[in-house]
């Protein structure tokens, strides 16, 4: 099996600050891969580059074997560029799809600081995520020309909610749910976009130990059920070590280690990065 996601020399620079530096990552299909690192290491920035929120300053991102995002510094950005491999993609055309196009390709995400739509119910939050793939246009939708499609969207949404154990809350405002369920809802919403690759940004943040333990099983379950590839950022080491097939560790934007959980656990640089260096 090939790679679902492939990052090649991705650098993201804001002004003079390099947030992600020359990052290369492979996420093989159907695997659960983790990206870890101390606070401010650039993990979420990497996610934002993959999902099109930011355009990387330099580098290539492939999805399912096809180039999806590509950029290289030019002009003023080239002069201030501090990263490496500035010339590597200089002759390739720039690719900068918008986040919704990337979602359309089959990448869905959750957010570190939960971003549910606050005036909408739990049901609507999931239903909106079905909008992109619905076979409709603004006329057929407005004049109810395609009721079957609307019904299909509603039914599938209901199925998802039942599966996530959220059906009891379906008419409540999304923001009125307890924290753990809001995270669940974010995952359900992401699944509603029918992704092939799921990016989870600190899915266990704010969860209690029991919820965290359940989360590991849950991630494996949805991977099987939806034939997903999962790429996650996490701070809970128990969860990461439990669930991941392979781990990338970054600090100050650069990779410091990679390997299967046991290797990473015993890596000196990783321990230093997390605990600080003691001479």
């Amino acid at each position: 099996m090939g790679n679902a996601l492939h990052l090649e020399n991705v650098t993201m620079q804001f002004g003079g600050v390099v947030s992600v530096n020359d990052l290369s990552i492979d996420v093989p299909e159907h695997k659960i891969i983790a990206l870890i690192g101390p606070n401010g290491a650039g993990k979420t920035t990497a996610f934002n580059c993959i999902t099109g929120v930011y355009q990387p300053t330099n580098g290539l991102i492939e999805f399912m074997g096809r180039p999806m995002v590509r950029n290289h510094p030019t002009g003023k950005a080239l002069k201030t560029y501090k990263g490496e491999n500035a010339g590597k993609f200089a002759n390739d055309p720039v690719l900068a799809p918008a986040p919704d196009e990337i979602t359309g390709l089959g990448i869905a995400r959750t957010f570190q600081n939960i971003r549910l739509w606050k005036s909408m119910t739990v049901f609507e939050n999931v239903l909106v995520a079905k909008h992109q793939r619905a076979k409709q246009n603004v006329f057929s939708a407005t004049f109810r020309g395609n009721l079957a499609e609307e019904k299909r969207m509603r039914d599938e949404t209901m199925d998802l909610l039942v599966e996530q154990g959220l059906d009891a809350y379906k008419d409540e405002l999304a923001v009125s749910l307890p924290y753990g369920l809001q995270r669940r809802l974010e995952i359900a919403r992401a699944l509603a976009t029918s992704p092939k690759l799921l990016l989870l940004d600190e899915p266990a943040a704010g969860m209690n130990p029991q919820e965290t333990a359940e989360l590991a099983d849950f991630v494996r379950q949805i991977r099987e059920k939806y034939d997903l590839t999962v790429f996650l950022i996490e701070h809970h080491m128990d969860l990461v070590m439990n669930v991941s097939d392979y781990i990338y560790v970054i600090d100050f934007g650069s990779e410091i280690a990679r390997g299967i959980p046991e290797e990473v656990q015993n890596n000196r640089r990783v321990i230093e990065a997390y605990l600080g260096v003691s001479d």
Partner: protein, 295 residues
Amino acid sequence: MEYVISVLLSGISVGGQYALIAIGYTLVYGILRLINFAHGDVFMVAGLMGIYFTATLPVTASVPLVIFLTVVLGFTIERAAYKPLRGAPRMSVMISAIGVSYLLQNTATYVTGGQPMTYPVIPFLSDTVNVAGTQTKWVVIITPFLVLILVFALSLLIGRTKVGMAMRAVSKDFETSRLMGIKINSVISVTFIIGSALAAVGSVLFFTNYPAITPTAGAMPGLKAFVAAVFGGIGSIPGAVIGAFLIGICETIIKGLPSSWDVSVFSDAFTFALLIIILIFKPQGLFGEAATDKV
């Protein structure tokens, strides 16, 4: 040639008057991120007060009184209409500003009975003077110099005093400044006081040159001044001043074009066209800083 000089002169003076209003916009936007739609109307009210006071008081007394009362008005508007909405969505505050503008215009209509009011002749400012063969009013000559002096004083205030430092800090980062113990509300009040005082001075200069004041007389100069502030880079005082002079000059040139072309109707539209072009190509303006959003 004389014609060109007269157009240029009046352009510079109109620009100077816009500059005085634009500073009020740019300061307030810099700190509250609010387009203070009522600012142009404060300017109009200052003009009306000028009319009513000079009817009974000597000019030397009424001008300071106008400035003082305009400052009180600006301060009151901020306390009554904007302060309660701190923390509310930006749209609510802007709607409140539009509401204040509506209130001021309607009150002015009520007080004046809707009639255009003639601005009094202010001695010296209204006297004519001969510059390079063209007749003009003293106010036209004085405006740019007065503006430069006031801007200089303002930049000293902002650059050298404690309150100026607080203003700069708040405009950089509202929340952090609050955490650092800066009294946000007093800083905002000072901003409104400065803006209103300058608008009051601007009103004396502006309306001396115009035949009459109507309740909506402040709206257009206000919007133009805002455009000037955007043009120069919102939050930047020199930017606002340069933008205002440019707009003033362009506008008088358009108005001065041969009447057979019949383009004077576009003197206001031009300003907005300029605004849209800037927003598209250089949204941070000439001297503004670009901002990035965090996700």
